[in-house]
Symmetry: D2
Subunit: 134 residues, 4 copies
Amino acid sequence: MFRHRLQVRFSDCDLLGHVNHAVYLTYFEQARSAWWHALGGGTASMPGAGAIIVHASCNYRAPAFPADDLEIRIAVAALGTSSVTLDYAVVNATTGQHLADGRTVNVAYDYTANRTMPLPVVTRAALSAAPEPD
Amino acid sequence: MFRHRLQVRFSDCDLLGHVNHAVYLTYFEQARSAWWHALGGGTASMPGAGAIIVHASCNYRAPAFPADDLEIRIAVAALGTSSVTLDYAVVNATTGQHLADGRTVNVAYDYTANRTMPLPVVTRAALSAAPEPD
Amino acid sequence: MFRHRLQVRFSDCDLLGHVNHAVYLTYFEQARSAWWHALGGGTASMPGAGAIIVHASCNYRAPAFPADDLEIRIAVAALGTSSVTLDYAVVNATTGQHLADGRTVNVAYDYTANRTMPLPVVTRAALSAAPEPD
Amino acid sequence: MFRHRLQVRFSDCDLLGHVNHAVYLTYFEQARSAWWHALGGGTASMPGAGAIIVHASCNYRAPAFPADDLEIRIAVAALGTSSVTLDYAVVNATTGQHLADGRTVNVAYDYTANRTMPLPVVTRAALSAAPEPD
């Protein structure tokens, strides 16, 4: 399971005193981007397949506050012909408290032909080798 | 079905050239807030029950671009003892194209006792009278 | 003076209960974009000169709150060889209260040659005809 | 000079391919918050004086990109009766390139009396001991 650390920004929080719920998708995005680079994405050997997000969801269990250090965990939940389903967990890195979990479905997209496309072989191989959820 | 209009901000969009996927939850939130006020929420007769979001999800069908005028539609999908499930649709107000749909589960919360609470009677009555999804 | 209306989003506000100070630059940006389109920018007759922002500032006088309707006013303060200086005011559209004022300096930029460029003649003409600050 | 590290988020960037200019004020805010805690702010010995921002500005010199590691530097530029003026620099932590500099004016505020107030003695002492700009 890939782990990405980030710090809550003051401006991530809203009038209710904690991180605004929409920002969790941004945390997922940030972890996903780091994970993709760690897999070798965006390099000559695994040129960026265009990707679009067709689904995102999050379940909220406990709040996060300004300057909290969070760990975003990410794992491959399912691999389809042209899609990969990713599962996320958000954990307070100091206390270990589980704050949220979520999911995105990402689809390989051919921006030239303007349609979805099968996952490139090299991408599929990298995703298959990635850790599964705990 | 309650309808709320808003305009896409330049800064809602990311490197991919369209509205960032996390921002749709912000659009839902904006519509939900307008809807809650339209129902009479936050007034003396229906004092704000504290509410928390325990789930949010979105399915993305087509992109939105800077300065697009969007209509966010919102309807009550289910009413539990302490929760209300809301369904959303995002439509391009100019073309009528359906761009996204989503859901949130909102739970009445007693911030003093620090736990969920049954929906107040007056809130339940207002929500019961609200339109259902088309 | 060009005037642009927008509504404060709940998520524009931070823990302090009002619009976060950084968001005013986003309001300026949104007004500037609408103004540029109103001037004819981005059309065949005035193809988008690339532009970069080299300076932005804001003075804060009074807070704005969720769902406030704001009017952003924009005017040309100065016109240089390759730059235009814009002045902004943020006014509560309901009460008329003056909330903030600011400035940006925007420079025409040739993304191909990777350097600043003189304002195109047609752009200069349009900016010269734009209203000055009150 | 206090130094704070942060990573550019994908969603900090806009259609132009680099960090949106408004986000630099958020970077300043994040550094200011860390600096304030490092000074001992918000503790029993230096209880949070309420503070408001009355001015913010930024000069942009070079762009920042997704996943860039940035160092935000902050120093006390001037100390008034009730205000502190802070200067900021944004530097690419990998290349050392200077990307932006800025300024905020922060004023001590008595939220009970709803007016500005002199800087508390202990706060003034801490600020006086803080490093000046290079």
